[in-house]
């Protein structure tokens, strides 16, 4: 009698055998193959006692690509973002900005201290304005480059967007922190634009490294449909004006948060 191959038995055990009925019939009559299947079972059953190992980096990305379109668009809880190891880099850069701003304030502001509280608030806002302004500038640049991306070799059908992806990942971390800070500062208009930007960055960061022209067009359409580039430009310009207005110098009135929120 011809016995089943190991491959056939493993395929049967894993439920992917092509000729399942044939194997079932053979096992019913062949003691030796049944014993061999039991030995395979014993190894796999032993492996079941292990905790599920990490299947690899590609797996997480693939699962994200599968579930992302089905997820409701709801931002994550703000405090979760602060405790993820990935965010620590962005957290460190924000902390560094705060330290620099603090030291700059100490060095440059030796004058009268009558309105310290108001000045502190102004400094905090200035830091946010400068940092978010730069962040929006970098985001705009990345989105423009992505919109204009083309295959490096015209004979190639796929476009490599891995560089834009890496930048989107970095921007995503910063974006979350700035959005939370804007919310805490009561700047809901800015927080709302950052929220929209976050979704676009999330899409880019979790796209495949190489996309077909059709997939790239889909990403472009998404960016255009949300008008995110326009919004980023408008808010970026507004922040630049705010930066000029909040920089110590001749008194000048600037659009306040509440005015912006109203708008």
């Amino acid at each position: 009698m011809k016995h089943m191959t190991e491959e056939e038995l493993i395929a049967y055990r894993e439920g992917v055998a092509a000729q399942r009925a044939v194997i079932v019939r053979h096992l019913a009559t062949c003691q030796e193959c049944r014993a061999e299947l039991e030995r395979i079972e014993a190894v796999l059953a032993a492996l079941d006692t292990l905790p599920v190992p990490n299947p690899g980096d590609d797996y997480g990305r693939h699962v994200w690509q599968q579930i992302a379109p089905r997820l409701p668009e709801r931002p994550a809880r703000w405090w979760q973002a602060w405790f993820e190891p990935k965010r620590l880099g962005a957290l460190a850069s924000v902390a560094a900005l705060l330290v620099i701003a603090f030291l700059t304030g100490r060095i440059t502001k030796q004058g009268p201290t009558g309105n310290d509280v108001a000045n502190k608030d102004q400094t905090r806002e200035r830091i946010l304005v400068v940092a978010v302004g730069e962040h929006l500038g970098r985001s705009e640049m990345m989105l423009v480059e992505l919109s204009n991306a083309e295959p490096t070799d015209p004979t190639q059908k796929r476009v490599n967007i891995s560089a834009e992806q890496r930048r989107a990942e970095d921007l995503l971390d910063e974006n979350r922190l700035y959005r939370q800070t804007a919310l805490q500062e009561g700047d809901t208009a800015l927080a709302s634009v950052l929220d929209e930007l976050e979704r676009v960055l999330l899409d880019v960061a979790h796209s495949p490294e190489e996309v077909t022209p059709a997939q790239l067009e889909k990403i472009r359409q998404k960016i255009e449909a949300q008008g995110i580039l326009f919004k980023v430009r408008v808010v970026g310009r507004e922040l630049q004006e705010r930066q000029k207005a909040t920089t110590p110098g001749p008194a000048q009135q600037s659009p306040t948060k509440s005015e912006r929120n109203k708008a």
């Binding site: 016995h3 493993i10 395929a11 894993e14 992917v16 030796e32 061999e36 599920v52």
Partner: protein
């Protein structure tokens, strides 16, 4: 007098289990990246071969082969520690 069944594992059994666990971790670590991905997805996650093929960027046939190679390697490494019938038969032969 009543006999009470002692369900606690013997020290030998415990030592064997620890050794088996160590060997399983070594065997899993020894798999190639794609073999480990395929095996974990199929065996632990219950993913379809097509899903594995998509992650591995390969055909379904190749993904199936990768699962098979992973099980074969794990079996070769772990069979001596799993107990009964430690000899792996040369399969597909006639008797």
């Amino acid at each position: 007098m009543t006999l009470v069944h002692d369900a606690a594992p013997t020290p030998e059994r415990l030592a064997h289990n620890i050794e088996l666990r160590k060997q399983m971790e070594i065997a899993l670590a020894a798999l190639s990246h794609s073999e480990r991905t395929a095996f974990v997805m199929r065996h632990w996650e219950g993913c379809a071969i097509e899903e594995i093929a998509e992650v591995l960027k390969s055909s379904s046939g190749a993904a199936k082969n990768t699962v098979f190679r992973a099980v074969q390697k794990l079996r070769l490494a772990l069979q001596p520690f799993v107990g009964r019938g430690t000899q792996v038969r040369v399969m597909g032969t006639e008797s």
